[in-house]
């Protein structure tokens, strides 16, 4: 590419990229938020041994874990309109942003489901028995006793998955979403300086990740408030 390395371009590009950061954050917030709810649902069949559904979610989770997110993105982007088209609904012109949300939600949900499954089974069953003995229904026991504790156990892994997902959102531009990456590509074309722009992007992603990590640590600290110190070090 043209020209010698121009450090000033790194700092000049950042303000041009930042206005697109909210797209990244939106993709992340929606796909993690909906993914968490979906993840809880997907964890249920395996936890409570619901036949058939259990097999379906097992295949689903294993498929998502075993395939690259970029391919999942293309499968949803090209595949979903075909499937929905069978129903006579045309979504080929839908904003690619939504395909990204769908893909990342499905992908996060699979990871979250496995995280929740482990976390929920880690909560001592004695507390469930205590809740039942007091007269709780299974649902009351789940949302008042088991889930809050499982969420604490799950949280560090949820945070890690979310941060990976944040970085993965940089693939969204490959189906035409104008996020920071997309904007970066146009800047590269306009300036003919690739390395500087990629450095700017790296700086922005890195800072955002650091901020998220900080926030997650703070939440984790809050969630752990009822543990004594030696349990924490376990």
């Amino acid at each position: 590419m043209g020209g010698s390395f121009d450090p000033s371009l790194i700092f000049n590009s950042i303000p041009k990229l930042l206005p697109y950061l909210h797209i990244t954050i939106e993709i992340l917030a929606l796909s993690v938020g909906i993914g968490l709810l979906l993840g809880i649902l997907i964890a249920m069949p395996k936890l409570y041994h619901i036949p058939i559904l259990k097999e379906i979610v097992t295949v689903y989770i294993s498929f998502i874990r075993g395939t690259p997110i970029l391919i999942q993105l293309f499968l949803v982007f090209y595949g979903l309109p075909v499937i929905i088209g069978q129903l006579g609904i045309d979504i080929t012109r839908m904003d690619p942003f939504y395909f990204v949300i769908i893909t990342y939600t499905l992908s996060n949900a699979a990871s979250f489901a496995e995280i929740f499954r482990g976390a929920i089974s880690s909560v001592d069953y004695g507390q469930t028995e205590a809740a039942y003995s007091v007269g709780f229904t299974p649902w009351q026991n789940f949302y008042r006793i088991v889930f809050p504790q499982a969420f604490r156990v799950a949280f560090p892994n949820i945070a890690n998955t979310s941060i990976s997902s944040l970085k993965d959102t940089s693939l969204a531009f490959s189906i035409g979403v104008m996020d920071m990456m997309g904007r970066g590509e146009t800047l590269i074309t306009a300036t003919a300086h690739a390395v500087e722009i990629y450095i700017s992007l790296a700086i922005i992603y890195y800072v955002v990740v650091l901020i998220f990590e900080r926030g997650f640590k703070w939440i984790e600290h809050y969630l752990n408030r009822y543990l004594v110190k030696d349990e924490l070090s376990m």
């Binding site: 004695g126 205590a130 039942y132 003995s133 007091v134 007269g135 009822y226 543990l227």
Partner: protein
Amino acid sequence: MIQLTNIHKSFGKTDVLKGIDLQVNKGDIISILGPSGSGKTTLLRCINFLEKANEGSIEIDDIALDVRHATKKEIVALRKKTAMVFQSYNLFQHKTVLQNITEGLVVVQKKNEKEANEIAKTMLAKIGLEHKADAFPSSLSGGQQQRVGIARALALNPEVILFDEPTSALDPELVGEVLDVIRKIAKEGITMIIVTHEMNFARDISNRVVFMDGGVVVEEGTPRQIFNNPKNDRTKQFLRRLVPEFTYEI
């Protein structure tokens, strides 16, 4: 009043309870003794359906159930009449001591928060842990946790409190404080069924002692009858092993 009739329970092919009958009157304090594996825990757990018995009927107050046909609703109704104190305390780890006690009052008994807090504070005073109201269970000693477990059960004002070896997970020096709390609430006329290996405690506190072995009630009677004048050979053998200085009248 509580009436258990012909309770049978098996796990796979092992018959653990082979037709238990037990009548408990209001205010009774019943100790259940028996060797390990005789089915004491299983019997307690069948009473509140933590374990579903295979056969038999359970009557508590105005509820009468054939265990085979009990619906979920009936089971919850029955559980509301009973409370349980567990060997391993089973406190809600993410709730404070006070919240452990109010939880059932608010969620199950639909009391408002203020009323629930007041009841909980009265209970905490009873077990001598007012100063720990806002502590989390993990910061308490085993003895303190079990006292909270007792307060949690007591707060529900149940027809009966079921104790499953409430002191056997405790360090010896903590057993006393828990037994003292149980003695204290026993004086209030609350019906209790206590599975225990603390023979002196059982003798002091109960008005009836039930001796179980091999899934059946072998013998029952007043503490005096059971401890001083047991009729059955298995009871004699059990007591001789457990209470070395044990001698009975001939």
